[in-house]
């Protein structure tokens, strides 16, 4: 199914340069990567074509691989005769101003999903009707699901990780024990 789809996309959407990431075994799913600039056209084509249509967008999920970020569009075809799933991937390399074309006008389901990706990964979606943070507060800083995320110290004059609520006593006890052990080891060596 994936091979045919890759051919279909490459034939009909110029510049999509779709490639198949075949799964080595049944333990993982095959995916299709497309060029980030053509994501809108590819998604539109996948919905409207007649050979292998996809009538629903299930979710949009982002993955941060540190040197680049990936956005996965999980499409589905809710048809009793031919149910199918597809994971469509695009790469976003720019960590500061990363942006993609929004697919809200193709699938309205993308509205909240794209907002979530924006909230968690900081990837902006062009032409999105209402691109705000969705799960975090509007004035939160940083993109939480990135791997290099460090939480801010204060939010609206509140401490984010208040020391008073951490159990430092017992942690310190363990650390002290470790230090004693190390000192004993060092003494034994000498």
């Amino acid at each position: 199914m994936h091979n045919e789809l890759v051919d279909l996309i490459n034939k009909n959407v110029p510049g999509a340069s779709a490639t198949l990431n075949a799964a080595p075994d049944a333990k993982s799913d095959s995916t299709i990567s497309v060029d980030a600039n053509s994501i809108f056209k590819v998604v539109q084509f996948l919905r409207d074509n007649t050979t292998m249509p996809f009538n629903a967008l299930q979710c949009i999920s982002g993955v941060d691989y540190l040197d680049y970020m990936e956005v996965c569009y999980v499409l589905g075809h809710f048809d009793v005769n031919a149910p199918r799933d597809l994971i469509l991937k695009v790469k976003v390399t720019d960590r500061v101003n990363g942006n993609l074309d929004s697919v809200v006008s193709v699938y309205p389901a993308a509205n909240f999903q794209e907002r979530e990706v924006f909230d968690m990964f900081g990837i902006r979606f062009n032409n999105h009707p209402d691109l705000r943070r969705i799960l975090c507060p509007d004035d939160w800083q940083g993109w939480p699901l990135r791997k290099d995320y460090v939480a801010q110290k204060y939010y609206a004059d509140m401490e984010v990780y208040p020391d008073g609520k951490m159990n430092f006593e017992d942690r310190e006890f363990i650390v002290r024990q470790d230090m004693i052990k190390k000192a004993q080891l060092a003494a034994a060596k000498n």
Binding site: P24, Q58, G76, P83, A109
Partner: protein, 391 residues
């Protein structure tokens, strides 16, 4: 006033010609975060023109617990208690969805008895969840006594779960490779006894609420999700079936052992109201309860003694790759997107596609033109659980 929700061209509020000149500016009203009809902490900003909703804007995130970030720092077994807390009314189904994703990447074979018991457990949980939906929906619409009936039966399921797994709500019972504990024969007998009782009760609920004229007036032809809307917004579960589309993962893309079972997929037919309205969504849930009882009975008949835990390595390390696993939860389809980088004890990325999240995004589509009281009925009919929406 310019709408912030221009997608899909929301219909203009229906206003009579005579009253047009009385129209004044829109009133902003906050429904929630603490509102009994939102079943949790959901805030919906409603712009109303007198009693008629012009726009509704959901504001999410009051229950955001960064579950996806947490799970990136925890081993695969440790994530299960967190997955429980997503949909706290159907924790077993959530666990099963996650566990299936890990098992697929691990290539574990689950013993047959464990699979059958998982089906029994998940369907019991589905009944419990639908009973909760039934009870709270009645409360939303002002009927109090159905809630007590629903909780009476739900309590029986929770008692069974407490005996089997040790906890009443957040079980950590379905494990990678099988189940924590086996059901004893006595517990199996109690499950079958519960099934018999449930069928009688379900009949009672129909007389009590489903066919009540006041209830029908409140719900029929209210909050109609057309089939096209459902596909556009990716709606699943009772919402999609209530709109008259026969789609159930257990039937159409069977996972586990569901292909061996004989059951119907109830859809909203529009015998009262029209397909896609609140009444049809409600009745789909009530009919699913009966179908679940059917499945449980068949599963119990198939049970054979055996082990309930497959072979799983002590430290779970998944190969490099990614999966997207779907499973049918009481509220719709749960999707787990699990990415592993290999040679690591923790998931690299765990994305939960929760059904309620997509269903909440449909609210701005149906709200324009509704009365506020009808909007409450619509919010209640999608059976929202905020733990799952905000994650």
């Amino acid at each position: 006033m310019q709408s912030r929700w221009d997608i899909g061209e929301p219909e203009a509020p229906t206003i009579n010609k005579e009253t047009e000149q009385l129209k004044s500016e829109l009133l902003t009203l906050n429904m929630g975060p603490q509102h009994p009809a939102t079943h949790g902490v959901l805030r919906i900003e409603i712009w109303t023109d007198s009693e008629i909703v012009a726009h509704a804007i959901p504001h999410l995130g009051y229950l955001h617990r960064c579950m996806e970030k947490h799970s990136e720092n925890m081993d695969y077994r440790g994530v299960i208690p967190y997955v429980d807390r997503l949909d706290y009314l159907a924790a077993m189904n959530m666990e099963w969805g996650y566990v299936m994703a890990v098992e697929k990447m691990l290539g574990t074979e689950v013993p047959r008895r464990a699979e059958l018991l998982r089906i029994v457990t998940a369907e019991l949980q589905r009944i419990a969840s639908h009973l909760m939906a039934f009870g709270t929906y009645a409360i939303d619409l002002g009927a109090f006594s159905p809630f007590l009936y629903a909780f009476d039966m739900r309590e029986k399921i929770l008692r069974i779960f407490e005996e089997v797994s040790g906890a009443r709500l957040l079980y950590n019972y379905i494990w990678i490779g099988g189940l924590w504990n086996d059901y004893t024969d006595d517990q199996i007998t109690r499950v079958s006894a519960f099934c018999d009782e449930m069928l009688v009760e379900a009949q009672k609920y129909h007389e009590l609420l489903s066919m009540n004229k006041i209830f029908i007036e409140r719900t029929a032809n209210v909050g109609v999700f057309s089939l096209q809307d459902c596909f556009d917004y990716g709606a699943t579960g009772p919402i999609l079936r209530g709109s008259g589309y026969k789609w159930d993962l257990r039937k159409n893309k069977p996972y586990s052992l569901y292909s061996e079972f004989d059951f119907d997929v109830p859809v909203g037919t529009g015998e009262i109201g029209q397909p896609g309205d609140c009444w049809n969504r409600y009745i789909v849930r009530m009919r699913e309860v009966v179908e679940s009882v059917k499945i449980i009975r068949q599963a119990i008949a198939k049970l054979e003694p055996g082990s309930v835990m497959g072979k799983v390595p002590k430290i779970i390390k998944l190969p490099k790759g990614e999966v997207y696993v779907r499973s049918e939860c009481p509220r719709g389809e749960l999707g787990i997107h699990l990415v592993s980088q290999g040679e690591s004890k923790v998931p690299y990325r765990l994305k939960v596609k929760s059904p309620c999240f997509t269903h909440v995004s449909m609210l701005p589509r149906v709200a324009p033109g509704q009365m506020i009281a009808d909007f409450v009925a619509t919010v209640g009919s999608i059976d929202i659980v905020l733990g799952e929406v905000d994650r």
